[in-house]
Symmetry: C2
Subunit: 322 residues, 2 copies
């Protein structure tokens, strides 16, 4: 395994990775093609765990996060959408300013919309108040934002990143089975990609001291696991997490199951850019050292294999042209 | 053609479309599967016009927009990322507030980061200061934000939407040829999807009166075209635009070509959700009425065909289960 710093430095030197602003990462070249291959593999995995694909928007009401106790748990990460007021005179002031960027920054108005810190809040919010006669199992991807400045680190801890989740809302047994199936599928994918990983018990970094009781419970009841890579000279990096929320979100959003009790939920979450990093840490930053990704055995996965082939073709095309 | 309002109302009634907040749209069910099919077709098209795929982040510096004269042109749409300050006492105040959503909203701090209003600014910014020995042709997709409240209209004018662009930076001739090839490819795709469209001369809605001169020039010099649908009882809706910027961005970002002059640029831009709407307006909101999408003839497009097949399989699975 290479060190994450060296891998990122190599991409930066090839101009395949750049940061327009701290915590925001762009990719091009082989790294961008590889990112697509990996994102396809992960999409295929979450679809195999789910009954439906959702498209969720990149923002949600601050009130939805409050309902999920987000501000008790992770206020430090909150990122929200703001905009300029609509008054023509104010817009003209910005437009005609000597330094319009500063002028605009000073004139921004807060909104009620948070940028999503995770995908699954959308699922609980959309199911709010419903009685489920069968489990809801969803695959969805979303651009997420967590303001972890000044600890930003490209591909490891970005302000904005891509999260894909498979989410299950149903009976306790259905949530259990989903979490177990998810963990097994993720380990299989990690092996297929040649990643050396470990599964560890984990807890969320709850902000308030009262959250520490919840963190302790997560550990004692083994509600949260993470799949981590352990690169040399760096702390472990979680590339996926398997979370059982028991009835927490069912209670918070008034979602019930057939017997009238609150629904249980579980989710399997992937950080796409961290999987890219894990692959590069395992196989190096040069495309010539990357193994072919083995074909998925599930026949419904053929489109992902072709995506991979299309990705390779794109690399070839690039190489020919350069 | 159906009216956009009736199509959106039908999706809403089936709970396949919902708005967590004004201007933010979620999709599930057949509509979500169809959105994926269409997004794949458009991705394939932009890749066929480009030499490379980029992944651009969803935010960029306000200063980059200023460099592109964005605040002279479209300040009314600006959306930016804000966050809470890092001081523990302030975070505790939010966490312990009786109404943490309001408390958080009141404590938000503006940042220097705009949420991208379009994909192509990223391309000019990354190429800034470079001398190009050959054209750069990029395919990229990005979550974009334009604050068009109170005119939000689901799938037509959302605060947040998905834009895919093919962008060319090079000589005037290369930009010309790119814009022409893009327009032809887009019309072919629209026909293949059974959409009834028209190509019209267009201009950007520049904010300042001084921008009106630029708008007039856009029309006189035919620099901007749009592919529109013209549904009954509704204004035309642009689903793609073909833009020739001449040397505007080359000048603004110091990008030059071999002869030392400023680079020209052109882009072809797609609003994915508007293509979904156009398909539904043409074929109706019920999946049973949707035509099969013909196979792409380009053999490198096979992955899209399989995506479509996977999409159909997903619909079948859903129907069986329900």
């Amino acid at each position: 395994m290479r060190s994450p710093e060296r891998v990122v430095a190599a991409l930066r030197a090839r101009r395949e990775l750049w940061e327009p602003s701290p915590g925001l990462v762009g990719l091009r070249g082989d790294a961008a093609v590889l990112r697509d291959r990996i994102a396809c593999e992960i999409a295929s995995l979450t679809r195999s765990l789910a009954d439906e694909v959702w498209h969720v928007p990149p923002g949600l009401p601050l009130g939805t996060l409050a309902r999920a106790d987000y501000f008790l748990s992770f206020p430090q990460w909150l990122t929200a959408a703001s905009h300029l007021g609509g008054a023509t005179a104010d817009l003209e002031t910005v437009a005609r300013a000597a330094d319009p960027a500063s002028s605009a920054r000073g004139a921004l108005v807060a909104s009620d919309v948070a940028l999503a810190p995770a995908v699954c809040y959308h699922v609980y919010a959309e199911l709010a108040g419903q009685k489920l006669s069968r489990p809801v199992r969803v695959s969805a991807e979303c651009t997420c934002w967590r303001h972890e400045a000044p600890r930003f680190s490209a591909l490891i801890r970005d302000w904005s990143f891509t999260m894909r989740e498979a989410v299950c809302v149903g009976t306790p047994q259905e949530a259990d089975a989903f979490q177990r199936a998810g963990a097994a599928a993720v380990r299989t994918l990690a092996e297929r990609l040649g990643l050396s990983t470990a599964t560890v018990h984990a807890e969320d970094p709850f902000f308030l001291p009262t959250g520490r009781g919840r963190a302790l419970l997560q550990r004692l009841k083994a509600l949260k696991h993470e799949l981590v890579i352990e690169p040399p000279g760096a702390p472990p990096i979680a590339i996926a997490s398997f979370n059982h929320h028991e009835r927490f979100f069912g209670d918070a959003f008034g979602i019930s199951i057939a017997d009238g009790t609150a629904a249980s939920s579980a989710c399997v979450a992937f950080g796409i850019e961290r999987w890219l990093l894990a692959f590069l840490v395992a196989h190096g930053p040069s495309a010539r050292d990357w193994p072919e990704v083995r074909e998925a055995t599930d026949p419904t996965d053929t489109h992902d294999v072709s995506e991979v082939m299309a990705g390779s073709a794109a690399i070839a095309t690039r190489a020919e042209r350069s």
